[in-house]
């Protein structure tokens, strides 16, 4: 028996040695750069649908013609997992979408090539988004586009409840009143998802937010935040506001399209979804009402990441420059309903699409996404707690968020 065990151990050791010493995990040296002409770039995108994939492929084809480089575009099935695997295997795509949730993890791990200093007109990009994609004081990647939240109103239900255009709510009190008036007969005044990515607008309107501006300290347990969530709780308790799941829908837009909600808080992707699934619905998008501290909304974006380990970094940055140019952003906006992240292009967009005015204007006072390493689970837990906001104490929820966030911040720095 002893000899057998020994033999087995020797075999294991041999295998370990064989694999461990081989270069299968790759070196960790600075990646050698390819400087020749006609380079080949790989792009990985997390697409929202066929329209987006097609638009990106068309843009890339135009770039190929112009630059002489070849580019392949691949749409990811599970972006986080595919990127994580390619980073671990040291074969990342050259250019890829970076989700704001994951940005800090990748930046902290040194997987992103910070090319912000190579973009001369970086100031043209919206400020809240630039600060979201800044790590260690350096702009790491350019925001691909932008989306903001506004209030969508079902005009038919609005008229039926005896309301006019003058009644579009501009304050919390007005929102409470119209929501109550619109509720009844299978319709809920306001329906939205049970996550901070929607309910956070009320925290912002009350003058609070999860972190300070530099994302270095937690400010979750502040009084304004509690006031914002307290307001949401009071709406939920009155029955004039419900979560999308409570009315058997997966998001606010679905409830809105099905006529179960008279109002919802959604971003500019609503336009495309309504056109596709509920083309007959009549609605209008108005700015979110102002809270005690004025107007507030949230902005979302992905950025164009360039891999630190890419052998074609300068070509990749060149491609990103092309894809994030004003003209190209306007083309993307036409194709799949996102807004340009460049201020100059946004002005053109506002002229072209007057119906999106509320979303465009919201860029002026929007809060960018939280991008702190290891915050995915903290914010996930916050969303879980928000599910029970109707019965829970907002202060307790925010205190937990504060504590969890502080621990993650301590671990991240």
């Amino acid at each position: 028996m002893a000899t057998r065990t020994a033999a087995a151990l020797v075999t294991c050791a041999a295998i370990l040695a064989a694999t461990g010493c081989s270069s299968s995990f790759g070196g960790d040296k600075e990646t050698k750069q390819d400087t020749g002409a006609g380079q080949h770039l790989k792009v990985l995108i997390a697409t929202s649908g066929d329209a987006e994939t097609k638009a990106v492929k068309e843009a890339v084809a135009a770039y190929e013609k112009r630059s002489g480089n070849t580019v392949t575009v691949e749409a990811a099935k599970d972006m986080n997992q595919q990127l994580a695997q390619s980073f671990a295997g040291h074969k990342p795509p050259d250019v890829f979408y970076v989700n704001s949730d994951q940005f800090a993890n990748y930046a902290k791990g040194g997987s992103l090539y910070p090319y912000g200093d190579k973009i001369k007109d970086a100031d043209d990009f919206a400020e809240p988004l630039r600060s979201s994609f800044t790590y260690d004081g350096k702009l790491v990647c350019l925001p691909k586009d932008t989306s903001t939240l506004a209030l969508a109103v079902n005009t038919d239900l609005w008229k039926k409840a005896g309301l006019t255009e003058k009644d579009y709510p501009t304050s919390w009190d007005e929102l409470r009143k119209v929501a109550a008036k619109l509720t009844g007969g299978g319709v809920t005044g306001l329906v939205t998802s049970d996550e901070y990515q929607r309910l956070g607008v009320f925290m912002k309107q009350a003058g609070g937010w999860i972190t300070d501006a530099g994302q270095t300290e937690m400010t979750a347990d502040s009084a304004p935040n509690a006031e914002g969530l307290g307001y949401v709780k009071s709406l939920l308790r009155s029955g004039s506001m419900k979560y999308a799941k409570q009315v058997d829908t997966s998001w606010g837009g679905e409830a809105f399209g099905k006529g179960k909600a008279a109002m919802t808080i959604e971003g500019n992707w609503l336009t495309g979804a309504m056109k596709l699934d509920y083309p007959d619905l009549k609605y209008k998008v108005v700015p979110l009402p102002a809270g005690p501290a004025g107007k507030g909304t949230l902005a979302f974006s992905n950025c164009w990441g360039v891999a630190q380990e890419s052998a074609h970094r300068s070509a990749a940055v060149d491609l990103v420059k092309y894809l994030s140019s004003g003209d190209q952003q306007l083309k993307f906006a036409d194709a799949f309903g996102v807004m340009p992240s460049r201020t100059s292009a946004l002005a053109t967009y506002a002229k072209r699409v007057p119906a999106a005015k509320a979303w465009v204007d919201a860029n002026a006072y929007a809060q960018g996404p939280v991008t702190v390493a290891g915050f995915d689970k903290v914010l996930g837990q916050f969303n879980t707690d928000l599910q029970s906001l109707r019965t829970a104490d907002p202060k307790k929820i925010l205190a937990d968020l504060q504590r969890n966030g502080q621990q993650a911040l301590a671990k991240g720095h």
Partner: protein, 403 residues
């Protein structure tokens, strides 16, 4: 029912010998009553028997045989080592690192943190421990309900379709087995539609005058609902003894609140999909029980319940052990249904350690902690299997005759 005349004396011998049953290692066909000693012939107990025979071959020859043996098994050893042992050892190493998945974990770039990942999960107060404790609680209830239910259901189905007088046996067998061959992701998606708030199940319930819950959005624990209904605890604002004490970051009340309604739906799905596979295993074992045993029991004048209790079930013991073990391991590792149906929602009540391991690795880029969760889960499964092995051991009171 066919009936063969068998000498009563021999039959009784076999009957009493029956509890030691068809052993898993026997492998052969049913033992016949006529040759009780045959399966236990010395040669039958495998390669270990050879060196103990008096005519031991010279040592040199044996060594040579050993070398050849190793040569023959080497492809398999190599494959197992490369794809099983090595990855496990690598994962063990990763579980001791603070590794974000973006460097080489074997080059010293990732910080070695010792047992910190395990400490964060087990002893340090924080989000990590709370989430892990929640996932353990959810999975414990999942196992406690799924394993007994699926085993009993599978055994019942197997007993039903094993009856020779049953019409349309093959059709029934196929029907019962069908859920097992269907992709669990596809089944989970169908369940999502069935159990929507306004889905088929609630429509059916409403015909009976029952207002069904919004299944997958309902995070209330069934035990807490029960406690609430009895007036012991107010589920919305638990107070008193249960709320004041906590273990691993969860209050006693949270530990005791039971599986949520959403989790119960997943349990239902799991029982429905897996019982077919286990039915097949039971069915194979049932058909392996010698007919003579049943006939002998019939001669003894036992009724059906006694037959089941004293003949069939003892003969099924090794298979029962197999089914329970497989069930325990599979239920502690539940992932795909959770991934499709809730990813932990509602209210973290469908979070399981396997899913948490995935989420901390790929969503939080904390691969060390993901690996640590996997190893704690492994330890847990090993302990529980050992416990179950001990509980299902052959009781010493009955001496084994054929030795």
């Amino acid at each position: 029912m066919s009936f063969r005349a068998t000498p009563p004396r021999t039959t009784r011998r076999t009957l009493r010998g029956a509890p030691s049953g068809p052993r898993p290692t026997a492998g052969g066909g049913p033992r016949t009553a006529g040759s009780p000693g045959a399966p236990d012939a010395p040669g039958g107990s495998g390669p270990h028997a050879a060196p103990r025979t008096p005519n031991t071959p010279p040592a040199g020859r044996r060594g040579k045989e050993g070398a050849w043996g190793w040569l023959f098994v080497s492809p398999m050893v190599l494959v197992l080592g490369l794809f099983l042992v090595l990855p496990i050892l690598m994962a063990l190493w990763v579980s001791l690192l603070d590794w974000n998945g973006q460097s080489n974990p074997f080059s010293g770039q990732a910080k070695f943190v010792g047992l910190d990942n395990y400490r964060a999960l087990l002893t340090e107060d924080g989000l990590d421990r709370t989430l892990f404790a929640t996932s353990l609680r959810n999975n414990a209830y999942y196992v406690l309900l799924t394993v007994p239910l699926q085993t009993v259901l599978a055994l019942t189905l197997a007993l039903i379709v094993n009856q020779r007088l049953l019409r349309g046996r093959s059709a029934l067998r196929t029907a019962f087995f069908f859920p097992s061959v269907t992709s669990s992701v596809a089944v989970a998606t169908v369940f999502l539609f069935l159990f929507q708030g306004s889905g088929a199940v609630n429509t059916l319930l409403s015909w009976m005058g029952v207002h069904g819950p919004n299944w997958f959005a309902d995070s209330r624990g069934v035990l807490s609902l029960l406690l609430g209904a009895l007036g012991i605890v107010d589920p919305d604002h638990p107070t008193g003894l249960l709320a004041d004490h906590s273990f691993m970051g969860l209050s006693w009340y949270e530990w005791l609140s039971g599986p949520s309604i959403a989790m119960c739906t997943i349990i239902l799905l799991a029982v429905w999909t897996t019982s077919g596979t286990f039915m097949l295993i039971f069915l194979a074992a049932l058909q392996d029980i010698p007919r003579e045993l049943e006939e002998a029991a019939a001669l003894e004048g036992v009724n059906r319940r006694q037959l089941l209790r004293h003949v069939t079930l003892p003969a099924l013991r090794p298979v029962l052990f197999l089914v329970l073990t497989l069930g325990l391991i599979a239920t502690w590792q539940v992932f795909d249904q959770v991934y499709v149906m809730g990813q932990g929602a509602p209210g973290n009540t469908t979070l399981t350690p396997a899913f948490l391991s995935y989420a901390s690795a790929f969503d939080d880029a904390d691969f060390g902690q993901g690996a640590a969760i996997a190893f704690i889960l492994l330890a847990l499964i090993l302990c529980i299997t050992a416990l179950q092995r001990w509980a299902l051991r052959e009781r010493g009171a009955r001496p084994r005759r054929n030795r």
